[in-house]
């Protein structure tokens, strides 16, 4: 069995593992909800948006852990396994192709799924975001599912214009930022979906998650755009040409810049800022899917 085939099989295994993780996390949330309603804990609305509230006084950390329980944590462990399988699949794919494994849509998708899972797992070590897990895994499953069914292409060499070390740098940085943007967007969405409003004086734990992740991802994204400009100068003779991909990278950057500015504007923190996080992510997503598939331009490398 060659490594390309092994990579494909590992993607299948990763999908199954992620799906199991999804089920466990769902079961964990359900168990918690049942226990909570029997105990009449007053913060019911929260679970529906999949939001962790460990810092809330009505759900002290200790009960939270026992309520969320073993089942949910097994879901997290399975997510970790899925991530490892996914990562090995990506590495084998790269080994089979003899280059950075992000040269077409299928490869962007499987690396993107790895980056999302990685951003979530790293985020989980810093912030109490166990309950965002189910949303993140759902997204990863959708991405990998599309990759395996619609986008799949066998390994092949690159077209000459992509054959540059800048591919590893530029696209690698963009995908890394993308993983963090995704988890940040999930946190912002949960923040907006939540029914009960928090008082303004208190910083929402979900907002701390999205802010922290965007604080990391924004410079990485900036670097990806600059690296892209340097590469464009070497490949096409101009560093910026308002190609659709460049335009949407710019739009993404400006929305996230607006997000960061909103975070230091009185009265704009919280829900208003969360909208910018979602707008930025929508632009990012459109750049990855829409521009690759529907808009002709110099970046039409979808290969599907």
């Amino acid at each position: 069995m060659n490594s390309a085939q092994l990579s494909d099989d590992l993607i299948t295994a990763a999908v199954i593992t992620y799906a199991l993780a999804f089920c466990f996390q769902a079961a964990g949330l359900a168990i918690e909800r049942v226990r909570r309603s029997t105990r009449r804990v007053p913060t019911l609305a929260v679970a529906s948006a999949g939001v962790s509230r460990v810092s809330d006084s009505s759900t002290p950390a200790a009960t939270h852990r026992s309520v969320y329980g073993l089942v949910g944590r097994m879901g997290t462990v399975l997510l970790g396994f899925g991530f490892v399988l996914n990562l090995v699949a990506v590495i084998l794919r790269g080994a089979a192709a003899g280059r950075a494994p992000w040269g077409n849509m299928y490869e962007f998708a499987i690396v993107g799924a790895t980056a999302i899972a990685a951003a979530y797992l790293v985020g989980l070590r810093i912030y109490p975001i166990e309950k965002l897990g189910i949303w993140v895994i759902g997204l990863v499953l959708v991405v990998l599912g599309c990759a395996a069914t619609i986008l799949y292409t066998p390994t092949d060499a690159l077209i000459p214009v992509l054959n540059s070390y800048w591919l590893a740098i530029h696209v690698g940085a963009a995908i890394l930022a993308g993983g963090a943007f995704t988890v940040a967007a999930v946190a912002s969405l949960a923040q907006l979906l939540r029914i009960r409003h928090r008082s303004d004086s208190e910083v929402d734990p979900l907002e701390r998650v999205s802010y922290g992740l965007i604080l990391f991802a924004f410079p990485v994204w900036t670097f990806a755009v600059i690296a892209g400009a340097v590469w464009a100068e070497a490949a096409w003779g101009r560093y910026w040409g308002w190609d659709p991909k460049e335009t949407w990278a710019f739009i993404t950057w400006v929305f996230y810049a607006a997000y960061l500015h909103a975070q230091s504007t009185a009265g704009w923190r919280g829900r208003r800022a969360a909208w910018f996080s979602l707008l930025g992510y929508a632009a990012f997503l459109f750049n990855f899917v829409g521009v690759n598939m529907w808009i002709p331009g110099l970046h039409s490398y979808a290969g599907v």
């Binding site: 066998p154 077209i159 922290g212 410079p219 900036t222 003779g237 101009r238 560093y239 009265g267 808009i295």
Partner: protein
């Protein structure tokens, strides 16, 4: 950008509105709104065809054809040139003014703060971050000196005043923030220089041909407002050979795999060098860069006229029409006698022999040249400029039609002459660009990256250590204050407490 506004506004009649407008423009809220407008303003340019931008120059005209009612209106509001549109410029210029109105006062404030001593401690430290209080078994001077020394080692700015130590660090955060915002101005200068003095052009060169860098050699030349068109870097470049490689098997069969244009070029001073131009590997001649941006085929033919004289010989560039490089073009022999000769041709680089008039593979495996011959007046003597890719059919009539393989000859009826298909050369499309502002833009990008990272990573914070005598002994109090959204790192305080011999298990910890 200023997030605080002073609350007391003096009643200054006449100038009040100006003051209000300036304050509104430079407020952070306005900046956020302008950023949102900037993002939204950039959107239409990615959906509508753009002039001077898109890879497809004919896209705007095609759009005109498809939407004859809508297009003139869109054009009136610069929607085919969004990134040079007045309304787009308005948004980013307002944003830059707003930014400068905010950044310059902050520069001044930072300058003052850097020269002033760190701020004195507030009355109550217990409200602040990482507050600790413990009884120490040492003299106040020793504790404070020790603490000050420790903080200095950690690169705090430290002042020992009376019974307290004041320390602050993280000024680079603000410096980074300012560098980031100023870099955007530098970037604007770099972009403007390129747009004012640079140029872009395209030239197709067949193997063996030589390109001389003067405006008339270009197939397309887009100068800027202040480009020195007469003073282009003088050099001459010959395309020695162009090699292309395609995927022969697999699902991506026919996709290009490698291009290599071997060129030799002569500079102004007479020095000659040879090199390869490949994708991602341009040739740089004193700032004028040549990029290999495309390729195609140029069939080599020899045309003989009715007298048996060679009326034309050499490669003729044919333009590719599809992914497999089915190409078309025309051959003109105005010097032929007794009548001028013209040919319309269709070149199939790979004709697998199934018939049809489409190439089956982009590489040159089994070329076939379909020719339609015309005789008569080509209309080239009228003095009007004529495209090299079309025949004026007015004064000529079709005399013959034939498919040729390499080496074959088509004889024209009535002894009008003949044409021989000698072979096929490749031609290379070169994108040629000169941008004198790009180094400045690169400097701006590096400033931007460094400034942004510093402003997001560095945390500006203050630390105070205070001593007070009490009946129990010397009470040491310490606390920190973060001037940024994220709190100060706790490790600094743990280390500081350990350094000052805090007894284990401190009671007061916030």
């Amino acid at each position: 950008m200023t997030s605080k506004r002073s609350t007391s506004v003096r009643p200054t009649y006449g100038w009040g509105w100006a003051r209000w407008a300036w304050r509104t423009l430079t407020s952070m809220r306005t900046a956020v709104v302008l950023l949102m407008f900037l993002a939204l303003a950039a959107v239409p340019g990615s959906f509508l065809p753009q002039r001077n931008v898109a890879s497809d120059p004919a896209a705007v005209e095609r759009f005109y054809g498809e939407h004859p009612d809508l297009a003139p209106w869109l054009d009136r509001f610069s929607f085919f040139n969004v990134y040079a549109a007045p309304w787009f410029a308005a948004v980013y210029l307002l944003l830059l003014v707003s930014m400068m109105g905010c950044v310059l006062p902050r520069c001044r404030r930072l300058w003052r703060e850097c020269r002033a001593a760190p701020a004195r401690s507030p009355k109550r430290l217990s409200h602040l971050e990482h507050h600790r209080e413990f009884v120490a078994d040492a003299s106040a001077d020793a504790v404070l000196a020790h603490g000050a020394e420790f903080l200095r080692r950690r690169r705090y700015r430290v002042v020992l005043a009376g019974k307290e130590v004041r320390a602050e660090k993280g000024y680079l955060r603000e410096v980074g923030n300012l560098v980031f915002h100023l870099s955007l101005l530098v970037l604007l200068v770099g972009v403007a220089l390129g747009k004012l003095f640079g140029f872009e052009g395209r030239a197709a060169i067949a193997e063996g041909e030589t390109f001389t860098n003067v405006q008339s050699s270009y197939d397309a030349f887009t100068p800027s407002a202040l480009t020195d068109v007469e003073g282009l870097t003088s050099f001459a470049m010959t395309l020695e050979s162009l090699e292309a490689e395609f995927a022969m098997v697999g699902s991506r069969m026919g996709e290009p795999r490698a291009f290599d244009a071997r060129v030799s070029y002569t500079r102004d001073d007479g020095s000659t060098s040879s090199t390869s131009i490949r994708p991602n590997q341009p040739l740089d001649v004193e700032g004028t860069k040549l990029f290999l941006s495309g390729h195609g085929y140029a069939p080599r033919v020899t045309v003989r006229d009715g007298d048996g004289e060679v009326a034309f010989s050499g490669p003729v560039i044919f333009l590719p029409m599809d992914g497999n490089f089915t190409s078309d073009g025309v051959i003109k022999a105005p010097n032929a006698s007794p009548t001028q000769l013209g040919f319309e041709g269709l070149l199939l680089p790979t004709d697998a022999g199934f018939g049809g008039d489409r190439s089956q593979f982009p590489d040159l495996l089994a070329p076939r040249l379909d020719l339609t011959a015309y005789a008569g007046d080509l209309g080239m003597d009228s003095g009007l400029p004529q495209s090299v890719f079309t025949l004026e059919l007015g004064g000529i009539e079709e005399v013959a039609q034939q498919s040729l393989r390499v080496g074959e000859t088509m004889k024209l009826p009535d002894g009008a002459g003949s044409i021989t298909f000698d072979g096929v050369d490749r031609f290379a499309n070169f994108q040629i660009a000169y941008d004198p502002g790009k180094e400045i833009s690169l400097v701006a990008a590096i400033m931007l990256m460094v400034g942004l990272t510093a402003s997001l990573v560095i945390r500006r914070r203050r630390v105070w250590i205070r001593c007070a005598e009490s009946p129990m002994g010397l009470v040491v109090e310490m606390a920190g204050q973060s001037l940024t959204r994220r709190g100060s790192p706790a490790a600094d305080f743990d280390d500081l407490a350990r350094e000052l011999n805090e007894p284990t298990e401190p009671e007061a910890r916030s």
